[in-house]
Symmetry: C2
Subunit: 143 residues, 2 copies
């Protein structure tokens, strides 16, 4: 039984971000990869959509410039033959401010021949924005 | 081949919200259900954690008081024997303001004997807050 593509990809991604060693990751990205992290690109220019291996490797370099991953917990995971979805909690440091950031996200990934073909990430972005700002945003109750 | 619990649950949930007919939904919720929609509860009091069938039915009533679902697209879905995860896009109306809201979310669900045992929902909450406010929130670029 071979290891699921998700585990190899996750190790390579974290190595690319924390150790700035992108070689393993590059070998696990399909040339035609379709990538999207939904969120406010005004504040986080490395969010948004990317297409193709070069664009994805560049955005991973940008992510590595801005965060360090301390810990992640995979709270839920579903694995298919060539697909995977997880709900995760990350403990990060924002490198520009040295602020600790706690992040909840869900991702859906598809693989082809062991390489990442598609990634979609949904983040609890309001919570993230407040942490990155270092203050809460006043909200009216809509009820 | 029986229908997956997710489809029956999704129909009942949408019926409870849009038609205020909670009977089907009530039959599909485990007594010990564990429920969480992550997001700013100051603005959306029906977000947050709930435990047990009565609390979940009450929060579904609150959701029905505040939104109507016009359309949803399931962009990704993964099904296990007693579990499911989807990435979805919803078109809603906020009933208090009559504003259209477009929402992206990911959910992870677990079922027991066909009833919902656990639900976790991650939403692109910053985008949601801006739409509910009807204006954009100025953000500095962190780069």
């Amino acid at each position: 039984m071979t290891e699921h593509s998700l585990w190899r990809f996750a190790r390579a991604l974290h190595r690319a971000i924390n150790e700035r060693q992108p070689e393993d990751l590059e070998a696990l990205i399909d040339d035609d990869v379709d990538w999207a992290i939904y969120g406010p690109i005004d504040m986080f220019p490395f969010f948004g959509a990317r297409r193709g291996k070069a664009a994805v490797m560049e955005v991973c370099r940008q992510i590595a410039d801005h965060i360090r991953v301390h810990r992640f917990d995979r709270e839920s995971v579903m694995l298919g033959v060539d697909s995977a979805a997880s709900m995760m909690r990350y403990s990060l440091t924002a490198l520009n401010s040295n602020k600790p950031i706690s992040l909840r996200l869900a991702h859906f990934a598809q693989f082809r021949a062991g390489r990442l073909l598609s990634l979609r990430v949904v983040i609890d972005t309001f919570d993230l924005v407040e942490q990155a700002l270092g203050r809460s945003i006043h909200l009216p109750q809509i009820a």
